[in-house]
């Protein structure tokens, strides 16, 4: 009847908002205390960073040759790990997509497995595999397999669910069996995005792979840890610079291919 400008907020809603704010403020204060966050000290210690970083600089370029082998091992681990992860992901992608698997319980089950797998940190898996299979790249490769499996499966089932339903209905209408249904209606539509996601995951895995050696699972991480423990900061810098170069080059190659695919 009247043109009220704004509905008056109910007192309950206001209390809720205030309560939420109070909780947030408490969380922030508590977190600053618990994490020993001291921004004043950080600000004051910033000038000291100069001399510290001068120890890092210049990176020792001749050291690149020494670390070439572990670096290549890092890339190898990522390639093999991502490949196995992608292969393992295929069945679970199909099971987790609602438009491929009609059985709701199966879909739920597949997604729950994925959710749990994705919460396991790659360093944790790497150390477990190190405990079982011993130090070395094989443990890292297995950790990356599970790690990439989780990412690829998650990204892909979401994209499979958005494919055009037309061909799926057509295959059902002509009485195709499940295998034909997948082969002729699902795969052709989702293959490009599958490959793109695998490549993207490969980029992520190269980064993850560079640190797995920290727990003894092969690659450049072992060398990084040794140098850090011995305060050889100029070597640490060379390793970081080299890692950056490798990551940038691989990102560039992979994203060029991905752009062509999609």
């Amino acid at each position: 009847m009247s043109n009220r400008p704004k509905p008056i907020r109910s007192p309950q809603k206001r209390i809720m908002t205030l309560l939420l704010l109070a909780v947030l403020v408490f969380l922030y204060i508590d977190s600053v205390v618990h994490t020993e966050a001291d921004f004043v000290e950080l600000w004051e210690s910033l000038p000291n960073m100069g001399p510290l970083f001068s120890e890092f600089w210049p990176p020792d370029l001749t050291y690149f040759q020494t670390i070439l082998d572990p670096m290549l091992e890092t890339v190898r681990m990522a390639i093999v790990g991502t490949t196995f992860g992608a292969l393992l992901a295929i069945p679970i992608i199909l099971l987790a997509s609602r438009n491929v698997t009609q059985n709701a319980t199966l879909v739920m089950l597949a997604r729950s497995i994925l959710n749990v797998v994705r919460t396991l940190p790659e360093l944790l898996m790497a150390s477990i595999f190190v405990a079982v299979f011993g130090l070395g790249p094989f443990a890292g490769m297995l950790a990356l397999t599970i790690f990439s499996f989780g990412i690829i499966a998650k990204l892909c089932y979401e994209s499979v669910e958005t494919i055009d339903p037309g061909p799926l209905e057509a295959m059902n209408a002509v009485g195709a069996n499940k295998l034909q249904f997948i082969g002729y209606a699902v795969v052709p539509q989702s293959l490009p995005s599958f490959v793109a996601y695998v490549l993207y995951t490969f980029e992520v895995c190269v980064r993850a792979s560079s640190i797995l050696g920290y727990v003894g699972a092969g690659g450049i991480g072992i060398v990084l840890k040794t140098n850090l423990d011995n305060y050889r900061y100029e070597n640490v810098m060379s390793i970081i610079v080299f890692t950056l170069i490798i990551v940038v080059v691989i990102d560039w190659i992979s994203s060029t291919i991905r752009e062509k695919l999609l």
Binding site: L27, Y28, D30, S31, V32, H34, T35, E36, A37, D38, E41, L42, S45, M49, L52, L72, E73, V75, R76, M77, I79, V80, T83, N115, V116, R118, T119, L120, P121, E122, L123, L124, S127, I128, A131, V132, F133, G134, P137, F138, M141, R207, A208, S210, I211, Y214, V215, L224, L228, Y233, V236, I240, T243, L244, V247, V248, D251
Partner: protein, 268 residues
Amino acid sequence: MSKKATLAPEKTFWQKSRLYVLIILLGALYVWSFEGLQFDLAKSLDSLDEAGRIVAGVFQPNIPFLFEEEGVLEKMRESLYIALLGTTIAAIIAVPFGFLAARNMSKKLRFVSTVGKRILNVIRTLPELIVAILFIVVVGPSPFAGVLAIGFHSIGMIGKLYSEAIENMEEGTQEALVAVGANRLQTLWFAVIPQVLPEFLSYALYKFEINVRAAAVLGMVGAGGIGTPLLFSLMGHTWENVGSILLVLVPTVILIDFISGSIRKRLV
């Protein structure tokens, strides 16, 4: 004339040979990769005992370890706080970067947004744990190093998402404000901010979900949180302690994903 179903056009010689070259290259890449990863099957059969002990330990979690001082629950809280503070810092610092990198914010000066995008890319490139190691060298091995690492690393991704949100914004409101004679700051405040704020919040929450996972491993390089006891239990092969950490970590991460996901759905 019989009617034939139209087939895909015959591939030209060049297309075919390009495909073959690609397959050969890929094959060579795999041979090279597998060659480097030698694996001793006989040796790994011996280690099946250890695998059994791991499974047995993980599924019999050490419950008292949860509630101890410096125990799992306390350290998990520390991890969550690292993620919370780090993400908040990044979400704030990323705002100017997001505007810098958005193409429609600097129409006359193309290079500005290119520079902004480059900066964000460089920040994103450095692996999180390596950033953490650098900050440990600066501020010492503490949870604060973890906060700084997450805060720094997340600027890259949050800033990129922000800039995309700004680029996808509707231009109408902005033009309307310019038409009534608003200055740049007023347009920003009344037209741009109200439009992009929900998306900004949603992206920050999304990155928070990712950072909770990241904060769980930071401790393994010495940057605080649940990763520290995790590393000790892994190195000491006390698998029942690993079990109790997983008992807390896995549900926490799933719960946070769920809560944050439902808030994000309401925001956008």
